[in-house]
């Protein structure tokens, strides 16, 4: 079965330090992987995606993610965290359905807290 796991419920980091939010996946075939962010009382917002090509993908707000096929991971990273990055982050994998674009399976989310 296709699935995605986020092993950390919460990540705490000081402002200005690098951050990493972890994600591992289990899919058959080539994965389509995504990161979304959810600010309090708001809907999810797309950050970035990996479909094919370069293993390092860049997205919104200075975030990037590294696809590692051998470790089946797609960790989210940012070189220098901001207090405003504090939010809930979801990793997702696309589930293929014959005849359609498929839909996303989300991880349980990781709460990122950036302290001044």
């Amino acid at each position: 079965a296709q699935s995605v796991a986020q092993p950390e419920d919460q990540v705490n980091v000081a402002e200005g330090n690098p951050l990493t939010v972890k994600c591992t996946y289990s899919v058959s075939g080539n994965p389509y992987l995504f990161w979304y962010v959810q600010y309090p009382n708001r809907g999810l917002q797309f950050l970035l995606k990996y479909i094919t090509g370069d293993n390092l993908v860049k997205g919104s707000y200075g975030f990037e993610a590294e696809f590692n096929k051998s470790q089946t991971s797609f960790h989210l990273k940012k070189p220098s965290a901001l207090v405003s990055d504090s939010a809930l982050y979801f990793c997702a994998v696309r589930l293929f359905i014959r005849g359609s674009q498929g839909n996303l399976i989300f991880g349980k989310g990781t709460k990122l807290s950036v302290k001044p």
Partner: protein, 114 residues
């Protein structure tokens, strides 16, 4: 460009009552999704429409949940009768078919069942 609109934002009902949520996707987006997000969990797909046809409703509890998208634009999700475990945020999202996986979400409808 207007985003995905959802209403109501908040709803409190007693168990066994009914409730309906409405969603208007971004103009031109053929695919519409309803997700259920229980506190502390990631969103779980309930139903996916492409235009006015159902693509996937395998996780929709059909004994109590129903959804429609009659004209291929806006959609309604109904719960009847509601149970305590239905307390969640119901998220509507839409997407362009040519950009797989990039979903645009509304702000959600928070349901509390007492």
């Amino acid at each position: 460009e207007a985003g995905v609109a959802q209403s109501p934002r908040y709803k409190i009902i007693e168990k066994r009552q009914s409730v309906a949520f409405w969603c208007n996707p971004i103009s031109g987006h053929a695919t519409l999704y309803w997700y259920q997000q229980i506190l502390g969990q990631g969103p779980k797909l309930l139903i996916q429409f492409q235009n006015n046809g159902v693509v996937d409703d395998s996780q929709l509890p059909k004994d109590r949940f129903s959804a429609e998208r009659l004209k291929g634009v806006d959609s309604t999700l109904k719960i009847q009768p509601a149970k305590l475990e239905d307390s969640a945020v119901y998220l509507c999202a839409s997407s362009l078919d040519r950009v797989p996986g990039e979903l645009f979400f509304g702000e959600g409808s928070r349901l509390t069942v007492l």
